[in-house]
Symmetry: C2
Subunit: 196 residues, 2 copies
Amino acid sequence: MKVLVERIARDGKVLNQAILKVDGFMNHQIDPLLMKQIGEEFAQHFSAVKATKILTAETSGIAPALSTGMAMNLPIVFARKHQPITMGGEPLRQSAPSHTHGGEVELIVSNEYLGQDDKVLIIDDFLSTAKTLKALVALVEASGATLVGIGAVIEKSFEGGRAALGNLKVPVHSLAVIERFDGERIIFKEDKVEAL
Amino acid sequence: MKVLVERIARDGKVLNQAILKVDGFMNHQIDPLLMKQIGEEFAQHFSAVKATKILTAETSGIAPALSTGMAMNLPIVFARKHQPITMGGEPLRQSAPSHTHGGEVELIVSNEYLGQDDKVLIIDDFLSTAKTLKALVALVEASGATLVGIGAVIEKSFEGGRAALGNLKVPVHSLAVIERFDGERIIFKEDKVEAL
């Protein structure tokens, strides 16, 4: 996604070999037009998978997931990190390590909103080590729903997340793929990458 | 906002006198069409305040703020509850009690994205006791930016938040105003409420 790659190249900051700071347009401040385009791009790419629901994890997944859900007219469920008092019953839970905060976080989804009739498209901000995405995949499996695709806004391919996801037999699509950091320079893969 | 009031009346659940569960369409699962309409309604209402930026708090404020930002083509900043490692420097901080989790939370905004040139429209999911909104107002003041309006999706007028906000001399607008709960019934104020 050319406009995204250009934006990352211009405004992204390499903090260290694991962390890319994109909080000027994605993760703290959000560029509304870019985020709209991100949703439209996912909607177009995943139009054939016949999803019935989008799943993401709070906090930074919400914006791209909502934008995608708006473009596809599908409900969005965001896994929560803490169980609010409004969530009763026995929700589904999965642990995942936090990339930007350190430590473990728990991802929690109410089984009111994810079940065996759902065909789920997972959308998140990063595909890095894929630990959050794997927790989301596990939530989908635990709910009895069917996973139909995974979309990440930015993939850092050198962290091996795509391989770590294993053979899920669903399309995994990233809108911008970073092959490596060369000091403070961001080296992108030629164009988008896709795997089935 | 008729469609919102009808949705709350249909799908909202009164858990106790302080808590309304709306996680089927707003706070855990999001209805994309309703959320789009919420953004458009805020955009229309606040078109005259000449905002340059939308401010909200994670997590549940992100969806209505993003939708509003998309409708107004304005960047959205969401205050974070924890300082991620991508946020350097000395960010602005304010404490606020959590309504649905208990305890205190800190709201943190980088001064990279909020400063004296900004005219800020605050958007959040609830106007209840207004403690989160007051923390957001304090962040705006601390940044040197100008507050130009406050929008809440749902106001529970019986919790006194509007009075607690004090005389801010900006429009405070809610899309659905709940006057009280009568057991499990939700009693709405006749129509929208507005104060300048």
